[in-house]
């Protein structure tokens, strides 16, 4: 009873107060609206992507092992993890070359093959082109995990189709060859897997670019007596420079952080240290050997390399066009 009496004046006071505020309130609400809409997404991205990114940097300067996972405490050791990492021959002889050389080969293969397919697609009639594009998409749609198993099966050491074909042709002996143990052959298979999975994106994107190049440019070049290669070199390449920049850089980013395609291969999950790249090495160091600090340092290194590539990417994208 007394409660209602007490609250009523307060409520009416609140009701009578607004008049001077009323003019600013809608504006304030309008200003707050984008932030209210953004808030849930930013909260999720912040706590689950940005904060962990900060934490991995923090972990990389800690001595963080299984003991620390249990207790939650850790010891700050400064740059020790990085010093250890950079003085490890394994980084320079195995992990880094595996990452960089493989990425270079895979990106080169993906972009060159994708471009060739795009050039081929341009010469086709619309119906055939649509059919071929749909078929190409099947390769892109293949999940990394199942795609990798299919390639392992194709190259199976005992009963795989490639081995049987090579034995039948007399190119290898009846004992066969274990291509999964050798670094070079291991990564040749990974590269095949990645090029197969990655070229459709390049082909479709470059084709979209090719279709925007005015036909007159080619006709003029042909009148000047330019051959197919010269037309590509002097007309297509300069016109599509931004497109090539985007597909190359995106492919580079993807190929640097290849994980499942290496981890799932025989020996790729740690039993064959010869074949690990930076990502898989970081994972095995952390979760296999419980050296979370050192694993984080490797991960930070990988991220920094990708960040450098990303900056190049953003500059290529926004050179002319300002982000509005």
């Amino acid at each position: 009873m007394s409660g209602t009496v007490l609250t009523r004046p307060a409520a009416s006071a609140a009701g009578s107060a607004p008049p001077p505020r009323r003019r600013t309130l809608p504006r304030l609400r309008k200003q707050a609206r984008p932030w209210l809409l953004l808030a849930p997404a930013l909260l999720v991205i912040g706590t689950l992507l940005v904060y962990p990114l900060g934490r991995v940097v923090w972990l990389s300067v800690q001595d963080y092992g299984l003991r620390n996972v249990v207790s939650g405490e850790s010891d700050y050791i400064g740059a020790d993890n990085y010093v250890r990492l950079l003085s490890e021959p394994y980084l320079w002889q195995i992990a880094l070359p595996n990452t960089v050389v493989f990425a270079a080969a895979a990106v080169g293969g993906t972009v060159v093959f994708g471009t060739l397919v795009a050039l081929l697609l341009r010469t086709l009639g619309p119906v055939v082109r649509t059919i071929v594009i749909s078929c190409i998409m099947v390769a892109w749609a293949m999940p990394a995990v199942t795609g990798t198993y299919v390639w392992i099966w194709i190259f199976d050491v005992d009963r795989g189709i490639v081995r049987q074909a090579l034995v039948a042709l007399g190119l290898i002996g009846a004992d066969g060859v274990n291509w999964f143990t050798e670094r070079l052959t291991f990564y040749a298979i990974v590269t095949l897997n990645i090029v197969h999975h990655g070229f459709p994106f390049v082909a479709v994107t470059v084709l979209a670019g090719l279709l925007t190049v005015p036909r007159e440019l080619y006709e003029a070049a042909m009148l000047d007596g330019a051959g197919a290669w010269q037309r590509f070199r002097h007309v297509t390449l300069p016109t599509l420079r931004p497109v090539f920049a985007v597909v190359t850089i995106l492919s580079t980013i993807w190929d640097f952080k290849v994980f499942a395609q290496v981890y799932l291969m025989p020996g790729g999950s740690g039993s064959n240290m010869e074949v690990l790249n930076l990502g898989v090495w970081s994972y095995i160091r952390s979760f296999g050997r419980q050296e979370y600090g050192l694993g984080s340092a490797i991960a930070v290194m990988l991220t920094l390399m990708l960040l450098a590539i990303t900056i190049v990417y953003l500059r290529a994208l926004f050179r002319d066009e300002e982000l509005r």
Binding site: A41, P52, L124, P143, Y149, G160, Q164
Partner: protein, 282 residues
Amino acid sequence: MTTRAPRRRARRTGHTLAKALAVAGVLLFTLFPAYFMVVSAASVRTTSGTDALLPDALTLDSFRYVLFDAGFLTYLGNSLYVALVTVAGSSLLALFAAVAVARFRFRLRTTVLLMVLVVQMVPLEALVIPLFLQVRDLQMLNTLLGLSIVYIALSLPFAIWMLRGFVAAVPVDVEEAAYIDGASWGRMFWSVLLPLVAPGLVATAIFSFITAWNEFILALTFLNEDDKFTVAVGLRQFYGQFTTDWASVMAASTVVTLPVMVFFLLVQRGLAAGLVQGAVKG
């Protein structure tokens, strides 16, 4: 004149033939793994690669065995749950965020957009260690919900990028007309904007679905009980157990691949555009 015409025709035939061969080569290379996977799974005898290549007869035995006897149905259920939670969460959050960046001019807008773009480039290998500790602290290791929440975060940046384009494509006049008719902002959002961006929302939802369905490294780290595995991790388990039984591994792979392929072919047009133009268009 009489000799030139046939020669030109011959050259043209040669040209067409070369082109047909090139197309056949490309198709062979692209489709072979998918064909080989399905045929290995469905062949009555998959004891070796050449046996599987051209099967004598087809059977669904491997599929039946994989799904009902080997427990792959559980993994499929888990993956479906995780994917649906991810789709629901990321579509809703991405829609709100996309409307904010596409329809409002506010301070720090460019900063937010750049952050969304850059955060996509962060390798999962760098996030897996802190995320593992974070999810462990929340006691959500080994739960499908914990995994789904992380997947929402993973699929959000790309979903926002894609939806932004779709929202921006809706003419502002349509919104203004709704206001003139006396609609509030909320009413305009639900009855005008939402139906118009629905196709974009479907595309975004499919990408989130594929992200959650295919993800491997986090599922591998977070889940360690057999009955909680998603398909990506379950398949690995499966491969370890049946190293010699390629028919089963390929049958399981086919089951995992099929829904992704169907969805992917539905939205493939949007993907390349989203990856390239989404970043370039204002």
